[in-house]
């Protein structure tokens, strides 16, 4: 009777599992396979060689820089807000509600607002600079600023998720640890580095994986804020999909993206289980 129950239980999971596996693994394998095809030949690296001429190395570099920058900013902000949310203060309820709003707001809408904030003429960032007596800036005049605007916009949208995950992690740290440390004379900064941070390792790793993978996939924001230049792996993929006849270049670019995601995943998992 027991084994029968076990198999029935598994049958309940089967539709969801089959659905996810079928619709994600098959197309992914297909994309990797297609990336080595051309209309005239099979199993050749020519799509990748072709992509080199369209800035593949630069796309990889930019994707990594934006991912690292956005992760650093999001984690820094999320730690500060999470530490504040561990305290009790007046208006905490309203603050948590408002702080969570960007999580729900569509990436496209974030891109809309930040396009208007960073616009060179008619931009709100420049209006603000003018009010406080500084010179307006052309926010898309060089590579650094291009990267900066995307990192800032993306962090606006995604810091709440990181905060929620860190907060969940902080909830698992027993209060005794802090009390003991206080008795031993450790100040707030010491307590953060010697108790909070080490005990959060698991949650930091999870947040890193979830956010890191999404960062490599960052698409709508750079597409709307920057267009196709500076190029990213996602916008490169989309450019070849939407504007040229050779969808094979798209597959090659998508495969490179996939490779980076898998490497990142494995590295973080190793770091998480290591030590």
């Amino acid at each position: 009777m027991k084994w029968q129950e076990k198999y029935t239980t598994f049958l309940f999971i089967l539709p969801a599992l089959a659905y996810m596996v079928y619709f994600s693994f098959f197309p992914t394998i297909n994309a990797v396979y297609q990336s080595f095809q051309t209309p005239v030949s099979h199993f050749v690296p020519s799509n990748y060689e072709g992509l080199m001429g369209f800035g593949l190395p630069f796309a990889i570099f930019n994707t990594v820089v934006i991912s690292v920058g956005a992760l650093a900013l999001q984690f820094a902000l999320a730690f500060i807000v999470a530490l504040v949310l561990r305290r009790e203060f007046k208006g905490k309820g309203i603050f948590s509600t408002v702080f969570l709003l960007p999580f729900g707001i569509a990436t496209v809408v974030a891109a809309f607002s930040f396009t208007n904030i960073f616009a060179t003429t008619g931009g709100y960032a420049n209006s603000f600079l003018k009010v406080i007596g500084l010179h307006p800036i052309n926010w898309f005049s060089n590579w650094w600023l291009d990267i900066f605007t995307v990192v800032v916009s993306d962090s606006w949208k995604n810091t709440p998720i990181v905060t929620l995950i860190l907060l969940a992690g902080m909830g698992t740290i027993p209060d005794d640890l802090y009390q003991a440390a206080s008795v031993d004379g450790a100040n707030a900064v010491k307590r953060f580095f010697h108790i909070t941070l080490p005990n959060l390792r698991n949650y930091v790793a999870i947040a890193l994986i979830i956010r890191g993978l999404s960062e490599f996939n960052i698409f709508a924001l750079p597409l709307i804020l920057l267009g196709y230049r500076p190029v990213l792996l996602t916008t490169l993929t989309y450019e070849f999909y939407s504007t040229t006849a050779s969808v094979y270049y798209s597959y090659a670019s998508a495969t490179v993206l996939l490779a980076f995601i898998l490497v990142f995943f494995v590295v973080v998992m190793k770091l998480r289980s290591g030590q």
Binding site: G91, T97, L101, A106, N116, Y124, W156, I165, F219, I261
Partner: protein, 271 residues
């Protein structure tokens, strides 16, 4: 020392609030004030210079606001319904399976969820063309399901785990089948969680961009019509669309706040 901490907390809180609200404020400003104070000036006003509904009316009249809105509602509702229909039994099953098997299933779900939409979407679009699903609401909903299903399952798992097993045994003793027990006994008991799961997947589909732009460019949903209008420089029209997209989401996020816990967002990995 105590008061210093207070000051720091309120400083952080006010600064964070300002940062979070400003882009939303800019959206409302552009949507509801005359263009001469916003997009038509070199230095737009940081406060509302006036009030007008003209931007919204123009968007409704000349930019086809109705079609994309209906399409978005249809897609999101379909995604939410499928997520709950498949997710409920799956969540129940995961709670009942031996821990080791359950962990393997969770990891597989997470791995599938992790594969990039842009990698999946392009091969799928070719498949969909041959199945006449390309550009259809059903096709888009099937693809977006990939984004929401694991999250739905983890959230429902949390909702189920608080129900005592005795209730389930009682229903079984009374002769209800397992599936019937799940949908007519357990789901109603966890109805707040089920509603949250439905609304969360509804909202994620409502906001979704990558699958929508690759699979349905000719029959755009709201996010795509915003992108198209931004691309063409119709900022006022896209502000109206962005507003329609955002208002329900603000309400939903506030409502869902209780369910948006780090534990669910971690994709079941924290256990």
């Amino acid at each position: 020392m105590m008061t210093l901490n207070r000051y720091i907390i309120y400083l952080v809180v006010s600064f964070a609030l300002l940062m979070v609200i400003f882009p939303i404020y800019v959206l409302f400003l552009i949507a509801f004030t005359p263009a001469k104070y916003t997009v038509d000036s070199v230095f737009p006003l940081l406060y509302p210079g006036g009030f007008t509904l003209a931007n919204l009316i123009v968007a409704v009249k000349s930019f086809g606001l109705i079609g994309p809105t209906i399409r978005s509602v249809e897609t999101a509702t379909l995604v939410g319904s499928i997520a709950v229909a498949i997710g409920l039994p799956a969540a129940y099953g995961l709670n009942r399976l031996p821990r080791k098997t359950a962990n393997t299933v969770t990891a597989t779900l997470f791995l599938a969820n992790m594969l990039p939409a842009i990698v999946i979407a392009i091969p799928i679009s070719a498949e969909f063309i041959s199945f006449h699903l390309y550009g259809s609401v059903i096709g888009l909903a099937l693809a977006q399901e990939l984004v929401v299903l694991p999250l739905t399952i983890f959230l429902l798992q949390g909702a189920f785990s608080s129900i005592p097993r005795d209730i389930e045994y009682q229903a079984r003793v009374d002769g209800a089948g397992l599936l019937r027990t799940i949908f007519t006994v357990l789901a109603p008991l966890a109805k707040a969680g089920v509603a949250a799961a439905f609304l969360l997947s509804w909202m994620i589909s409502w906001d979704e961009f990558t699958f929508a732009v690759i699979l349905n460019p000719a029959n755009p949903t709201l996010p795509i019509i915003i992108y198209i209008n931004l691309f063409r420089g119709n900022i006022l029209a896209s502000s109206a669309f962005a507003l329609i997209l955002t208002v329900p989401v603000i309400v939903l996020t506030a409502f869902l706040q209780r369910y948006l816990k780090g534990e669910y967002l971690t994709g079941g990995l924290s256990g």
